[in-house]
């Protein structure tokens, strides 16, 4: 343990700062960002556009931060199912991954929002109506009455976009988890099992803690990709950043202001996130 620690300390000694080791890309982007900030402070149109788009940043973050954890959980379980020897579980997981990965995300969003959700609500209402005729009194009739009158409005377009993005990214995360788990040597599992651990205990205590260091970098990439793909919710008229950008542009015809500020806001979010992911990676000592 001691040896490993000292090795790492050696590794994270900061490099000597010279002109060639400076993070030039970050400096250049920072200056470009400052130019936009300057416009926002000095130009009325930029200021108004910025004000208008801020609400979209919150919606975009809300969609991303809700969809990503769901996608990760889906990914973990489907990834494990994909490795399962049980033919039924394995087949279901494989079908899910192949189907969802093969459909463009925007089509998936439209199918779920305008096809699947209305269908589910319809079925729920039908079950409720059936239930009312069967149980005319008693506690169950109230429950079925609720089902019969359950409104599609309870599942907002934003929620549908979150569900669709989570399902869509769940398939990618499943492959990330599968690859990460498979990258851990078979011997680890065999050793854990021989110590008397059952499969799930071995997975939880031995395999996943090791795999997570290999899973985290691609997971972080997907988090940033999901943030950008949340812009697809615009097809459902969800007021996230891209939708507000389009609304702004079409109502003012000021194309460049809207797009420049939107790009600035997206870049600020993704660069902060990728910085955070890098920090996490370093904290978990990934990359030795």
């Amino acid at each position: 343990m001691q040896a490993v620690q000292s090795q790492k300390q050696f590794q994270y000694q900061p490099q000597k700062l010279t002109l060639s080791t400076l993070p030039w890309w970050a400096i250049i982007l920072f200056i470009l960002g400052l130019i936009i900030v300057y416009f926002i402070f000095t130009d009325k149109n930029y200021a108004e556009t910025f004000q208008y788009l801020l609400a979209g940043v919150i919606a975009t973050l809300r969609i991303t931060l809700l969809a990503f954890p769901i996608a990760t959980v889906i990914g973990l379980f489907v990834g494990l199912a994909r490795l399962s020897k049980n033919i039924v579980i394995n087949t279901i997981a494989t079908i899910y991954i192949e189907v969802v990965r093969g459909i463009p995300l925007v089509v998936l969003i439209l199918i779920i929002a305008f096809g699947l959700v209305p269908l589910l609500i319809d079925v729920t209402n039908k079950i409720g109506q059936w239930g009312i005729t069967v149980f005319q009194t008693g506690g169950l009739s109230g429950f079925f009455n609720n089902l019969a009158t359950y409104s599609i409005r309870n599942i907002s377009m934003e929620l549908r976009a979150i569900i669709a993005l989570a399902i869509g990214y769940g398939a990618f995360e499943a492959e990330v988890f599968r690859a990460g788990i498979q990258s851990i040597g078979k011997g680890q599992m065999e050793a854990a099992r021989s110590l008397g651990m059952n499969y799930f205990l071995a997975m939880r205590l031995i395999i996943l803690p090791q795999a997570i260091r290999r899973i985290l970098p691609p997971l972080g990439n997907d988090f940033i990709a999901l943030l950008k793909d949340s812009s697809l919710a615009t097809v459902l008229a969800v007021n996230e950043l891209t939708q507000l950008t389009r609304l702004r542009r079409s109502s003012t015809f000021r194309v460049m202001e809207a797009f420049n500020v939107a790009a600035f806001l997206y870049l600020s979010m993704t660069l902060l996130l990728s910085g955070f992911v890098r920090f996490l990676e370093r904290k978990m000592h990934i990359g030795e």
Binding site: I35, Y38, F39, T42, D43, K44, N45, Y46, F114, P118, S151, I152, R153, M157, T234, V235, L236, A237, Q243, R246, L247, R249, S250, S251, T252, F253, R254, V255, M256, E257, N260
Partner: protein, 287 residues
């Protein structure tokens, strides 16, 4: 053919560079003439005469040139895809073909998305846009319009089983209204209903889909395309009532287009000999 893909990017790039140069680029660097919303080219009081023709009968000859016409193919009855043939059909197709017959030109229809069509027209990506476009002062600042070919109104499209009136829908905080992003319908919707209850969809197809699935309760739309959607979804939709009645529709040209005069003359000749009225009747633009 390949080269035409590069040009828009070059334009965008050049706009980007100029936009980064100064904090407040004006949206309309071109077009210096005064922009009253309609019939900009007719200074004489006699509005019924074809402006460029001395006698009123002689039309310009375009010498067989090709005109690229942007259409959305998603805005019945102006332009849509015929389910049987897969070809584009509609008022716009008939009207532009008739115009080109009179002017000796060849129309080449190109499908374009509504979103972003005005910047594209401003950049001159298409020779003209035929999409039942309402003539407004704001739009006239960045593009040029033809003379209006029809005047329509905007209505509220609702499900056939709707019992509430427009006023009741307006008063009910739970009722949502849909429309298409960047249209005059969106503006009217936000004037008539609380803006936070107005949802702007990518096209009317998605808005009507949301209406049918009960996600929203009404769609603000031009009456002619409302009838188009009612045709496509019989017994499921109806018109709750009229919201406005003064939408003048015209063709759109890039600023300073040399085609506008010629097409105005052709439109005027079609108005004079009754062809336009017959066309409007055929596609249900007027009753």
């Amino acid at each position: 053919m390949k080269k035409s893909y590069i040009i828009p990017y070059l334009i965008i790039l050049s706009i980007l560079i100029t936009a980064c140069g100064g904090p407040s680029p004006t949206p309309a660097p071109v077009q210096t003439e005064a922009p009253p919303p309609v019939q900009t080219e007719a200074p004489a009081p006699a509005e019924t005469e074809a402006p460029p023709a001395e006698s009123g009968s002689k039309l310009p000859d375009l010498g067989g040139r090709t005109i690229t016409v942007a259409v959305e193919n998603a805005y019945p009855p102006f332009n849509m895809i015929d389910e049987a043939t897969g070809e584009g059909v509609g008022w716009d197709y008939d009207a532009v073909r008739e115009i080109c017959k009179r002017l000796n030109c060849v129309p080449e229809f190109k499908q374009a998305a509504w979103d972003g069509i005005f910047p594209a027209m401003q950049a001159g990506e298409y020779d003209m846009l035929a999409d039942g476009v309402t003539i407004t002062a704001e739009r006239d600042e960045i593009v040029d319009f033809s003379i209006p070919y029809v005047i329509v109104g905007q209505v509220l499209l609702v499900r056939a089983d709707e019992t509430a009136s427009i006023e009741e829908i307006k008063a009910d905080a739970n009722r949502l209204i849909g429309t298409q992003l960047g249209t005059t319908n969106e503006i009217v919707a936000k004037e008539h209903f609380p803006p936070e209850r107005v949802k702007s969809f990518e096209d009317f197809g998605a808005a009507v889909l949301a209406l049918l699935s009960k996600d929203i309760d009404g769609v603000v739309i031009d009456n002619v395309s409302a009838l188009g959607f009612i045709d496509e979804n019989p017994d499921q939709l109806k018109i709750a009532g009229q919201l406005t009645s003064d939408e003048q529709l015209g063709f759109v040209f890039p600023p300073g287009s040399e085609l506008r005069e010629a097409i105005n003359a052709a439109l005027q000749s079609m108005i004079d000999d009754g062809t336009l009225e017959a066309l409007n009747k055929k596609w249900g633009l007027t009753q």
